[in-house]
Structures are given as structure tokens and as C-alpha cells.
Amino acid sequence: MSDQSVTSSGVYVRPEFENEIGAAGTGEVERRLSMFERISNIDPLRKFTILIIMVVIWELYARIGEINELMFPTFSATGTALIDALVNAGLLVNVWNSLKLLLSGYAIGISIAAVLVILAVGSRIGSDLLTTLTAMLNPLPAIALLPMAMLWFGLGPGAIIFTLLHSIIWPVALNTHSGFQSVSETLRMVGGNYGLKGLRYIFKILVPAAFPSILTGLRIGWAYAWRTLIAAELVFGGQVVDTSGQLGAEGSNSGGLGWIIFESQMENQTPYVFAGLFMVILVGITVENGFFRNIEEKTVRKWGMQKA
């Protein structure tokens, strides 16, 4: 470096320059990915492939490993059993029996939760009462109340619905109430500004504003209720074996899905247990991804209110 190129402040001064852009060509600007890359970027396709691979592994494992079908049936045996159960044994009736109980429990449970929350919105005492009740009863697994419920309501749908109610009311009430409480002061004032009061205020302002929380509560309530129902039906199965059969006596179609799983296992028809489990998964996925996902898309996502 010659001395002339250094300024007094110690910076190396270089000559300026300007380029003619485009004279030298630009190389590749944009190129489509290869067919394989594009296909493998499709999410559902990859997941579906994985599902198929897992099924194949299951089939091979059960066949090559020569596992006793009583312990672990092949996929094909399970599939056959499922079709047989659907066509000949009326598995859908059992599904419907379970869903009927679940839906009535869910509807009643939500109504009770709604009444509790509305009472809680009105006064501090109501709010304290609700939070105390939910704090005490939410951690209590609903299924633990089944023995008492059977004592109070007898061996029948009454006992199951009571247990379901317990599994739904508390998570729904808890989430709705905390959702209401975290509605911003601004939105509350906006509602008051329009002259909205009482129930109109609750349903036109608080409910939509707290909808993300309410939806969470509904989802948890559903998840608990579904689990409680299956467990309750299993316990009833145990009861039936103990007391030689009030539910089973009318034929297998009077029970729900949980009962079918239990019964098939008792009769050592393991493929039918798997078929029952398959239906349980199917119902779960339908409700989760079909029903709740749909509600979520049409409400909190559209409104830009989803958390996270």
C-alpha cells in the first residue's frame, strides 16, 4: 500500500467502480425441484406412506414371527375381523350405543357448566364458589365415582351418564370461567358501551372473546368423557362377569364399544379386540380432526385469536 491511499483518519481509500449488470449472464435464477422432491414435499402423502409401511411391518412381524394369533393377530386377520364385526355382528350398533351415551352426557354436562359459569359471572361469591369446586373436583378422575354412581343409580346408563357429567362439567367450566376472566377490560367496556347487559353481554361479548379457552375446555371435556366412557364400559364388563350378566344377557349389541373390547378379550377373540380398538381410534380421530378442527378453523383461526 502506498502512503497516498491512506487518509489522515487511517482508512484505505480504493478507487470507485460501477458494473454493467447482465453482460456476463446470470446463471440459473429459478428452477423447479425434481419430481421426486416435489412429491415428497406433500405432507399427507408422506404420512400415508409411513402408515402403509407400518402396516406392512405389522403384517410381516406377525406372520414371520409366527406370533400366536391370540396374542397378536396379523393386520389381515384384524381387517377381516373388523369387516365381519361391521357386517355380521353389528359393530356400528355398539359404536352408536357408546356415542348416544356420550352425546347425551356431553350435552347435559355443557348445559350444567354453562349455568355454573353464568352464575359465576354475576358475583364474586359465585366466582369463588365455582373456582373452589373446579379446583377440588377437576383433579378427581370421573371413573373413580363410578362405584358410587352404581350404588346411587344402579347398573345402567344412569350411572355412566353421571360419571360422564363429572368428567365434562369441570374442565369445561374451568376453562370457560378462566377464559371469561381474561377477556380484556377494553372489550368489556366496548360491550358496555353498546348497552349490552346480562345474558346478551355474556353471549355476544364474553363467549366469542373467550372462545379459544372455551374450545380448549370442550376438547378436554370430550377427551376425558371419551376415556371415562370406555373405562366405565370396561368396568361394567367386569361387573357383568362378576354378577353373571345383566348387560350381556340381552346380547352383545346392547353394550358399547368398551364392552365389545372387553367381551372379545374374555372370549379370546383377539382380532376382534383389535377391530374394536380400531373403531375407538376412528371415532376419536373423527371427533378431533373432523369436528373440533373444523370449529377451530371457522372460529379462532379465522378471527386470528389462536394462542401461540
Binding site: R46, K47, I50, L51, M54, L70, M71, F72, R124, I125, D128, L129, T131, T132, L133, A135, M136, L137, P139, L140, P141, I143, A144, L145, P147, M148, M150, L151, W152, A223, Y224, W226, R227, T228, I230, A231, L234, V235, G237, G238, Q239, V241, L257, G258, I261, F262, S264, Q265, T270, V273, G276, L277, V280, I281, V283, G284, I285, E288, N289, A308
Partner: protein, 293 residues
């Protein structure tokens, strides 16, 4: 804007030159003792709890309801005390807690392995996504008949269903949490030269902790419900076990006060885990870091 003067009502200005401090009003005054006590949440809730228990006691005494159907609070509390003294209750609790801890820990371990695979490779991520989508909606308890077939009538069947109930909830939530970690934080992590396992544990885990904690809580809630349920079903079949079995057995024998005593314990354990254990973790992590949603 000067032509607006005609539109509006102009009046003379004024100023309070001698504005002093207001002396005949308290700018700020402490509330009365009663108001302050009534503002303490814990006090109000505790009084409500006492009120509820009192109402229960009065109801059973006055209405003369059959104690076999609905025992009074004092009888239930007495039964609880008695079972604690005789050692029956602590034994049952320990049986349940032991299975719960083993199942919970094993479930977390399985979830961690799946998650590490999922973070490292796209195949892993897809496998995890597919598995959780399938098994998360499957109530763990429905696997109990199979578990009994595979593992027999023993604690391992209960551990199996507990693992199943924890695993998918935690894996799903954590995976969602990892995917929600901002690109900026990821780049910061790689900027520090972190990769592989250290990258996961030093960047992704803390950054996605809010989600992970939700997963842990949901996993606990499912595990607790599943285990109590499984013990009930199990009780119906085999006749040995912990708290859930105790609820079932005492119900069968119409020893209702002991059912209520067992239910008390189930609630107490649930409250302890949720309000002491998880609340504490929450306070010391996401609340402290200002990450709660």
C-alpha cells in the same frame, strides 16, 4: 383551521392560579381491614370450602339420608383417619404412586427418544406425527384388555397403559412446541455452534417449554385418570392394587365411608401434583422467563 371559530362556541380562557393540594380528601387511603381480608383469595376460597363441608355435614344429619348411600363428612373423615393410622391407606397410595412414577418416567423416556429422532430427520418427524395422530385419540384404558393378555394380571399391565397415556400427549405437545420455536432462536443456537442433542436440550427444550409443560400436565392428567380407571377394572378382575382398587372394593362391600375416604386421597394427590408440583415448575420457568401464554 381559523375559520372554524364560527362553528364552535368560543369562551374565555381561565386558569386556577392558586390551585393547592386537596386537603379535605384522601388522595389514597388503605381499605378497611375487612375489605383487605376479603380481598385475599385464599381466605375467601378456604371459607367457601369450609362452608361446603359444613353444608354437607348438616345435609346428611338433617335429611337422615342412608349412610350407606351418602355418609356424612365427619364419618368419611373418620374413615380416612382410621385407614391412615392402620397403614392401609399409605400402602394403597404407595402402590398407586409407584406404578404412576414408573409409567410416567418410562413414558417420558419413550417420548424423548421419538422426539429426538423427529427433530433430527424428516422421516422421524413424519413417523411421530402419524403415530401421535393415531394413538393420541385412543383412550389408554381400552388397551388394558390387551395389556392383560400380553403382560398378565400384574403391575406391568398397569405400567403399560400408563406409558401409553403419557407418551402421546407429551410427544404431541412437545413436537408442536419445537416446531413453534422461532427461526431467529434457531439461528442463534446454530450461531453458537450447537447441533444435535445439545442443540435440542439447550435451545429447543427451553424455547418450547411452555408447550412441553402443557404436554406434561395433560400427560399427568391422562395418566392419573387412566391408572385409577385401570385399577378399578383390574380390581373387578384380579383383586389387588392401589387407590382405584380401594374405591372399587369398598364400593362392592358397601363400605361407603371408606369409598369417600379413598376419593379424598385421590383429590388430595391430584391437588398436590397440579397445584404444588406443576405450579412450582411453572413459577420457576415460564413465568420467570415471561413466556406464559
Amino acid at each position: 383551521m381559523s375559520d372554524n371559530a364560527v362553528e364552535i362556541h368560543v369562551r374565555p380562557e381561565f386558569e386556577n392560579k392558586n390551585l393547592g393540594k386537596a386537603t379535605d380528601v384522601d388522595v389514597e387511603r388503605p381499605l378497611s381491614l375487612f375489605e383487605r381480608i376479603a380481598n385475599i383469595n385464599a381466605v375467601r376460597k378456604f371459607s367457601i370450602l369450609l362452608g361446603l363441608l359444613f353444608a354437607w355435614e348438616i345435609y346428611t344429619r338433617v335429611s337422615g339420608v342412608e349412610p350407606l348411600l351418602f355418609p356424612s363428612f365427619s364419618e368419611s373423615a373418620g374413615a380416612l383417619w382410621e385407614t391412615i393410622l392402620t397403614g392401609e391407606m399409605p400402602t394403597k397410595i404407595w402402590v398407586t404412586i409407584k406404578i404412576l412414577l414408573v409409567g410416567y418416567a418410562a413414558g417420558l423416556g419413550c417420548a424423548a427418544i421419538l422426539l429426538i429422532w423427529a427433530v433430527m430427520t424428516r422421516v422421524g418427524s413424519d413417523v411421530l406425527g402419524t403415530l401421535t395422530a393415531m394413538f393420541q385419540p385412543l383412550p389408554a384404558i381400552s388397551l388394558l384388555p390387551l395389556a392383560m393378555l400380553w403382560f398378565g394380571l400384574g403391575a406391568s399391565s398397569l405400567v403399560f397403559v400408563t406409558i401409553h397415556s403419557v407418551l402421546w400427549a407429551v410427544a404431541l405437545s412437545t413436537h408442536v412446541g419445537f416446531m413453534g420455536v422461532s427461526e431467529t432462536l434457531r439461528m442463534v443456537g446454530r450461531n453458537y455452534g450447537l447441533r444435535g442433542i445439545p442443540y435440542i436440550f439447550k435451545i429447543l427444550v427451553p424455547a418450547g417449554f411452555a408447550s412441553i409443560l402443557i404436554g406434561l400436565k395433560v400427560g399427568w392428567a391422562f395418566a392419573w385418570r387412566t391408572l385409577i380407571g385401570a385399577e378399578l377394572v383390574f380390581g373387578a378382575l384380579s383383586g389387588s392394587g392401589g387407590l382405584g382398587w380401594m374405591v372399587y372394593e369398598k364400593g362392592e362391600n358397601l363400605e361407603t365411608t371408606y369409598v369417600f375416604a379413598a376419593l379424598f386421597m385421590v383429590i388430595v394427590i391430584g391437588l398436590l401434583v397440579e397445584n404444588v408440583f406443576f405450579r412450582n415448575i411453572e413459577m420457576n420457568t415460564i413465568n420467570k422467563w415471561g413466556m406464559q401464554r
